[in-house]
Symmetry: C2
């Protein structure tokens, strides 16, 4: 890798990590707005998210500039293509945090449906996946990226468990249908955050080993 390109890419990577930590923090705050019935936390997420969007545009501009000026080949080209996809996934994690924050403000208008047991577990896991996927990028760590993909199964399992439990509450007591429905949406958002972290992990593998692992069922390799 050329020295200048290496430096530019390190810089780019630092910004991606910063953006990732903003998104992860937004998810954490949004879920804690629900858990602690804290509307101010939800509002903080809505205020802070535009900074993530701003970073996304900046990153894409930089990536496009690097593509045009450096004309990278092979591994460097994969780095930039991967970084561009990761950029988009991080921004969408921020979008999901906003959705959760908006649900939080509606949930807080109702009495608590049930003790929150699966929600903090699911959220902790999804946040961890985001963190691990970005650590895997920094360390070019394929094993860590693979572990992110495995964690996604557990996120999906927790989502199914939350769905089942919430549906049971809805059937037993029609008064909780509204807030229980909002919790369903929150679980959907956390599921998508896990999906985005999985996308990032797939891109890390693409960057490191140059292999596309997005559709294992195709079995073409």
């Amino acid at each position: 890798m050329e020295r200048h390109f290496e430096q530019e890419f390190q810089d780019l990577q630092q910004r991606l990590l910063w953006m990732g930590s903003l998104s992860e923090r937004a998810v954490h705050k949004a879920v804690h707005a629900v858990l602690e019935a804290d509307e101010a936390l939800a509002e903080a997420v809505l205020e802070e998210e535009p900074a993530i969007n701003e970073l996304q545009i900046e990153m894409d501009d930089r990536i496009t500039r690097l593509l045009a000026l450096q004309q990278p080949m092979a591994a460097d080209l994969r780095l930039l293509i991967g970084a561009s996809r990761i950029n988009s996934d991080i921004e969408r994690i921020g979008d999901q945090a906003v959705n959760i924050a908006q649900s939080a403000t509606r949930i807080l208008r109702h009495p608590q449906v049930k003790p929150y047991v699966d929600l903090p577990r699911m959220s902790g896991l999804a946040e961890n996946m985001v963190r691990d996927s970005l650590n895997a990028l920094v360390k070019r760590d394929v094993d860590l990226a693979n572990s992110v993909m495995r964690q996604d199964d557990e996120v999906d399992r927790l989502r199914d468990q939350m769905f089942r439990e919430l549906l049971t509450y809805m059937m037993e007591n029609s008064a909780v249908v509204f807030p229980a429905f909002e919790l369903v949406l929150v679980a959907k958002n956390l599921e998508r955050i896990g999906d985005h972290a999985t996308n990032i992990a797939e891109d890390v593998i693409y960057i490191v080993v140059g292999r596309d692992v997005r559709h294992p069922a195709l079995d073409r390799r």
Copy 2:
């Protein structure tokens, strides 16, 4: 644009259109599996979707090769970056069709919750957005791309209407909670298809005028 690149890109665009039409058809079939209580349609979607994944990988390989070999600048570079993003959105539309098909098989185990009025409208609109966004790509038509983005508001409005109605059914009759919940998930999937078509429309504008319109609220231009 160089002649060889022009030819390669025309070819790439044709494949994207083909892939788009497969995704759109998958959405249509999946929703009609619900509307017509036709499980065979749902199964067809599950069988046909891997072809879309296969195309996505093929397209990404071609785009990466063109980036490496042609070393395109400015407008050509935008074309390839835009095509790569569109490729990913089309594939995800296929994923949403699969989700709808899976919901369909579960919905069919229950009596129909309500007459389907909003569902075919919402689906027709989402399919139309997918078609228009790809037509906008072929014609480099910014006005058509803008109209896709406007249609997304109507999709979101229909989703809210479906949510309200389904929640009312759930509150009135706990026996319909399960199938009504699946219809909620279908509405969520259609909403996301609208979002993907909107992404494609934004990429068309990026390709044609070189302007990033993803976060209008940032107001930086």
